[in-house]
C-alpha cells in the first residue's frame, strides 16, 4: 500500500499541475481573445520581469560566454582552427547553453516571484476580494503574467546573446589569442539566422511554460505562510523539470 502511495502521490501531483497549467493556458487565451486582459498591466509585467531578471541575466550571460570560450578554445588549440571559434561560440551561446541557462534563470527569478505573489494574494484573501468585486481574476492577475513572461524572455535572450558573445570574444582574445576580428569573421561566415531564431523561440517557450507552472501553482496554493512557501518551492521545481524536458525535446527535435 505504501509503495502504491509512493508512486501514486507524485503521479497525482503531476496530473494536477499539468491540468492546472492547461486550464490556465486556456483561460488566458480566452481572456486574450476577448480583449479582457489589461494592456497596461501586461506591459507593467513585461517591464518588471525584464528589470527583475536583468542583473541575473548579465551574470549568467557572462558565465555562458566563458563556458563556450573554454570549450571553443579547446577545439581551436587541438585542431588549429581559430576560424571556426566564432561559429562554435555562437552556436553554443545563442542556440544551446544560453537559452537553457536563461530558462533556468527565468524559472528561479520570475517563476518563483509570480508563484509567491499569487499564493500570497490568495492566502490574504485578495484574490477572493477581487472575485467578490466581479473581477475575472484569470484575466487580470494570471493572463498578464502568462503573456508577459515569454515576451520578457525573448527580450532578455536577445540581450543575453549580445552579452555572452561579447564575453566569449573578450575571453578568447585575452586567453586564447583569438582576435575579435577572427571571432566575428567566423560568426559572419558560418553562423545561421535560424540558430538565433531557435534560441529566441526556446527562450519564449521556457518563459511561457515557467509562467504557466508558476501561475497555476500560485493560484492553487494552500492558505498560510506554509502554503506560500510550498508554492514557491513547487513552482521552481516544476519549472526546472519542464524546461529541461522541453530543452531536450526542442534540441533533439530540431537536430533530428
Amino acid at each position: 500500500m505504501s509503495a502504491l502511495a509512493a508512486v501514486g502521490r507524485p503521479v497525482l501531483v503531476v496530473t494536477q499541475v499539468t491540468g492546472a497549467m492547461l486550464l490556465g493556458a486556456l483561460r488566458a487565451a480566452r481572456a486574450a481573445l476577448r480583449f479582457r486582459v489589461p494592456l497596461r498591466e501586461t506591459v507593467r509585467q513585461v517591464e518588471r520581469s525584464g528589470l527583475a531578471c536583468l542583473p541575473l541575466t548579465v551574470f549568467a550571460s557572462i558565465s555562458v560566454g566563458c563556458i563556450v570560450a573554454v570549450q571553443g578554445m579547446g577545439y581551436v588549440r587541438r585542431y588549429s582552427a581559430p576560424e571556426v571559434y566564432g561559429w562554435a561560440a555562437y552556436f553554443s551561446a545563442v542556440r544551446e547553453v544560453g537559452p537553457l541557462l536563461m530558462g533556468l534563470a527565468l524559472s528561479a527569478r520570475l517563476g518563483a516571484l509570480h508563484a509567491a505573489e499569487l499564493a500570497a494574494m490568495k492566502a490574504t484573501d485578495r484574490v477572493d476580494a477581487l472575485r467578490a468585486l466581479g473581477v475575472d481574476v484569470h484575466a487580470v492577475l494570471v493572463a498578464p503574467r502568462i503573456l508577459a513572461m515569454p515576451l520578457a524572455a525573448v527580450l532578455l535572450m536577445a540581450w543575453s546573446d549580445a552579452v555572452s558573445l561579447g564575453s566569449a570574444t573578450l575571453f578568447a582574445w585575452a586567453f586564447g589569442d583569438v582576435t575579435p576580428w577572427t571571432t566575428w569573421g567566423s560568426i559572419h561566415k558560418y553562423s545561421l539566422w535560424s540558430d538565433l531564431l531557435l534560441g529566441l523561440a526556446k527562450a519564449a517557450m521556457y518563459g511561457l511554460f515557467s509562467a504557466l507552472a508558476a501561475t497555476a501553482i500560485g493560484m492553487s496554493a494552500d492558505a498560510g505562510a506554509d502554503g506560500v512557501g510550498r508554492a514557491v518551492m513547487r513552482a521552481a521545481v516544476v519549472s526546472i523539470v519542464v524546461i529541461v524536458v522541453l530543452n531536450h525535446a526542442l534540441t533533439v527535435g530540431w537536430a533530428g
Binding site: D125, R126, D128, A129, R131, A132, L133, V135
Partner: protein, 229 residues
C-alpha cells in the same frame, strides 16, 4: 422589499457538512448578524453567499438570482468585505476604491468625485494617494469597506470586519457600517463573535450550529442564555 434571500443552502468541506438546507432573508436597510463558534463555517457561508465557495441552493439579491441570472449579476449588486481587507498592494487607496467604478467605465471625473466623497466620509481623505502598506490596520479596513460600498450595493456582506481592531477603531468601523445600512438602505449581513456589541444592534441574528442556521429571538441577554443552553 427583500434585499437578500438565500434558500436551500448546503455547505460542505470534505466529509464535513456545515449547512444542510439552510436559508436566511434580510430586508433593505436591515442589519443581520451571523454568530457561531469558531470553525462552525461562518466564513464559508459568507463566501458561498457571493459565489466564492461552491454550495447548493439559491441566493437572491434584489430579486436577481444566482441560478437564473448567474453569480456575476449577484456580485454586481453585492459589496463584500472578507476577513482580510484584501486591498491590492500596488494601487493607491483611491485606485483600490475606484476599481469597480472604473470597470463599469464611469467617467473619471464622476469616479473621483464619488470616491473622494466616500473616502472623506470614512476619514481617509488624507490617504487617497497612499498605498495600503502605508495605512494602519483600521484604515485598511475602512478603505476595504469603502471599496465594498462605492458601487452602492443592495447588500453588504462582511466577514468579521472588526477582528483584530482596537476598541476605538472597532467602534468607528461599526458606526460606519450601521451608517451605511441606514443612509444607503443597504441590507447588511455580518459575521461576528461580538454578541453584545454588534449582534445587539442587529435586526436579526442567526446562529450557525449543527448544520442549521437558527434565528434567535429576543434581546442580547436572551441570546446569550440561548447560546449557552
Amino acid at each position: 422589499m427583500t434585499a437578500l434571500a438565500a434558500a436551500g443552502l448546503v455547505l460542505r468541506a470534505g466529509p464535513r457538512v456545515f449547512l444542510d438546507g439552510a436559508g436566511l432573508a434580510l430586508a433593505a436597510g436591515e442589519v443581520g448578524a451571523l454568530v457561531g463558534a469558531a470553525g462552525c463555517g461562518k466564513s464559508l457561508l459568507v463566501r458561498a453567499l457571493c459565489g466564492l465557495y461552491p454550495s447548493e441552493g439559491e441566493v437572491r439579491v434584489n430579486g436577481v438570482s444566482s441560478r437564473a441570472d448567474g453569480w456575476e449579476a449577484v456580485r454586481a449588486r453585492t459589496g463584500v468585505l472578507l476577513g482580510a481587507p484584501g486591498l491590492l498592494d500596488d494601487l493607491t487607496v483611491l485606485d483600490n476604491v475606484a476599481w469597480r467604478l472604473r470597470r463599469q467605465r464611469l467617467p473619471e471625473d464622476q469616479v473621483r468625485t464619488r470616491v473622494g466623497g466616500l473616502l472623506d466620509e470614512f476619514g481617509l481623505g488624507d490617504a487617497v494617494g497612499k498605498i495600503p502598506a502605508e495605512l494602519s490596520g483600521g484604515m485598511q479596513r475602512r478603505a476595504a469597506l469603502a471599496r465594498a460600498l462605492v458601487s452602492q450595493p443592495a447588500v453588504l456582506i462582511l466577514d468579521d470586519p472588526t477582528a483584530g481592531l482596537d476598541p476605538v477603531t472597532t467602534t468607528g468601523v461599526v458606526q460606519l457600517i450601521l451608517g451605511a445600512a441606514r443612509g444607503r438602505g443597504a441590507a447588511v449581513l455580518w459575521t461576528t463573535h461580538d454578541l453584545a456589541g454588534v449582534a445587539a444592534r442587529a435586526h436579526r441574528v442567526w446562529v450557525m450550529r449543527g448544520g442549521r442556521l437558527d434565528a434567535l429571538a429576543g434581546d442580547a441577554g436572551g441570546w446569550a442564555a440561548e447560546l449557552a443552553a
